[in-house]
């Protein structure tokens, strides 16, 4: 983890309430896809935890949805402005566990952290299938970006306006070596049920205090005891999650 001042070098809406922001600064603390950053905003006490969509030697790309006052303020920030952020937080997706033909499943704003993961898997020569689930056509983002990386992309919409009508679980391929996912809990629960017998890692979301393991604000009970979503996760082996609890 590092704290730094980051300059906004790109910022644009992808849909009505989902924005992409590119931050320039020290990215040396980023070690895995699926990690997150904590953004401090003027006038707000707590930082905002936001998953990292992509990163390289000097930039971090985040995609976030405006859900409250903090993200609303963030969405009005301009290129050239700076943000204080804690970077390189949490345990992310383990690229080494993918097998030959991994499946990536994203739901809504759970899609972004899968992007850098897909990049890394494709660079390692894996055959990557990505299922992106949205409610309706107007909410879709990043399907083209995943395709440009070279992944096989399937879009599902609940209303059937684009791609497969239904949920992500209605579009699962016959065979895949490992499943990586991020999205709302009901989606993860259904996906867990539909992918029994195949290994996988799911990224969870929780209201956080600190974001680096100090306050116990985001503890969940797993089959192996209590774990902190911010420090031990946000990505967990799907088998250790206590689906019954």
């Amino acid at each position: 983890m590092k704290q730094g001042i980051y300059t906004i070098v790109g910022h644009e809406p992808l849909t009505k309430d989902v924005y992409r922001m590119v931050l320039s600064g020290d990215t040396s603390a980023m070690t895995m896809p699926g990690q997150f950053i904590e953004i401090g905003l003027p006038g707000f006490f707590l930082r905002r935890p936001i998953s990292v969509c992509d990163y390289d030697e000097s930039t971090i790309t985040i995609i976030y949805k405006v859900v409250g006052q903090g993200t609303d303020v963030m969405s009005k920030m301009q290129k050239g402005e700076t943000l204080d952020a804690l970077v390189g937080l949490g345990h992310g997706f383990e690229v080494e566990r993918s097998g030959d033909d991994p499946l990536l499943v994203g739901g809504g704003v759970g899609v972004p952290p899968l992007y850098h993961l897909a990049k890394r898997l494709l660079a390692a020569g894996r055959e990557v299938t990505v299922i992106l689930g949205f409610n309706r056509a107007a909410e879709i983002f990043y399907a083209d970006e995943f395709e440009r990386l070279g992944a096989r992309v399937v879009v599902t919409t609940v209303d059937g306006s684009v791609g497969v009508k239904g949920f992500v679980t209605d579009a699962l391929p016959e065979k895949f070596s490992h499943v990586y996912s991020c999205g709302p809990m009901p989606m993860l629960r259904a996906l867990y049920g539909a992918t029994q017998g195949v290994g996988g890692e799911f990224s969870l979301e929780e209201r956080m205090g600190c974001g680096f393991g100090a306050c116990m604000g985001c503890s969940i009970m797993t089959k192996n005891g209590s774990r902190r979503v911010c420090k031990d996760g946000p990505v967990f082996d799907k088998e250790v999650l206590a689906w019954q609890i």
């Binding site: 401090g40 006490f45 930082r47 956080m208 600190c210 393991g213 100090a214 116990m216 985001c218 503890s219």
Partner: protein
């Protein structure tokens, strides 16, 4: 040169800065970030006799200039703290630690303190009679002079270490509670714990926090903490560890002027993990700005 040294019940601290219980775990998350030996001490996560998972999530809400938590005293239990956490801490922290102890009955407080009494790493026992986030315990002792008296006496009977009673601000008058702790033999007073607070989510129209209410902390509560430290300093002749909303060197000095001998820093650690080293770095310059050469000299200076 600025003299930062202070003494709590015979325990000399290099400086008055002590990360507050519940914001610093058992130390090692922060030891990865900086040498925590620069601190005066730190108060470890509130520990109970039995392990506790705590409350369901969401446990955290934001407020103007602060936050609410309802963690619910999640901790591995006193025996694992002694067998695992303290030995691990010994490798990265070479000073005496403040042991924060919670409980649900007088007997439980006493048993917990008896067990921690044998640990030479512990310099002070901070008895938490003021956690607002657990039912049938803690704060119900801390808001009743008889409860405070009973817990303090029971703990004092089983330990030779200095006992600091951590008081709740969720009372009409703090003075009788501090006086009850003093009369029962406490060596010092810690205050304030969090204020009971609440937020409601406009979308769900329900409380944000699963436990509905939680402990309000952060810079917003500094004036309440200062007022209570000031009142307790006037009422009892015991050293005070002051806390509540401290985020800067100026806040530390203000808290000491109100009557604190040492100062705990809480929520500030959660939004800036380097908050304590930053406060320590700026203290000498702020002291010089206000003509202070020794922090000992300013304790209770506002009276």
């Amino acid at each position: 040169m600025a003299d930062l040294k202070v003494t709590l019940s015979g325990l000399e601290l290099d400086n008055p800065i002590i990360p507050a219980s519940g914001t610093f775990g058992y130390g090692y998350e922060f030891a990865e970030l900086y040498d925590i030996n620069i601190l005066g001490s730190f108060s470890f996560k509130g520990t109970t006799l039995e392990p506790r998972f705590g409350n369901p999530t969401p446990r955290i809400a934001e407020t103007p200039s602060g936050m609410i938590n309802a963690v619910g005293m999640q901790n591995p239990g006193i025996d694992r703290v002694i067998s695992e956490e303290l030995p691990r801490l010994k490798k990265c922290f070479h000073k005496k630690v403040v042991a924060n102890i919670g409980g649900f009955s007088v007997e439980e407080y006493a048993e917990c303190c008896a067990r921690i009494d044998r640990e030479e790493q512990v310099g002070i026992i901070e008895v938490n009679v003021s956690c607002p986030n657990v039912h049938n315990g803690c704060m119900s002792f801390g808001t009743d002079p008889l409860g405070i008296s009973a817990v303090t006496k029971a703990v004092k009977a089983v330990t030779k270490k200095p006992v600091y009673v951590k008081l709740s601000p969720n009372v009409t008058d703090i003075v009788p509670l501090a006086a009850a702790a003093a009369e029962a033999g406490a060596d010092g007073i810690s205050l304030i714990n969090t204020l009971l607070g609440m937020r409601i989510d406009l979308r769900t129209k329900k409380p944000v926090i699963a436990n509905r209410m939680g402990g309000f902390s952060g810079s917003a509560i500094l004036p309440v903490a200062l007022r209570m430290v000031y009142q307790v300093y006037e009422a009892v002749k015991l050293p005070i560890i002051g806390m509540g909303g401290v985020t800067s060197a100026r806040d530390v000095i203000e808290m000491m002027l109100a009557g604190a001998t040492a100062v705990e820093v809480g929520a500030a650690n959660l939004i800036d993990p380097w908050a304590c080293p930053k406060i320590l770095a700026e203290l000498p310059a702020v002291m010089e700005q206000y003509g202070i050469t020794s922090l000992r000299d300013i304790i209770g200076g506002a009276h």
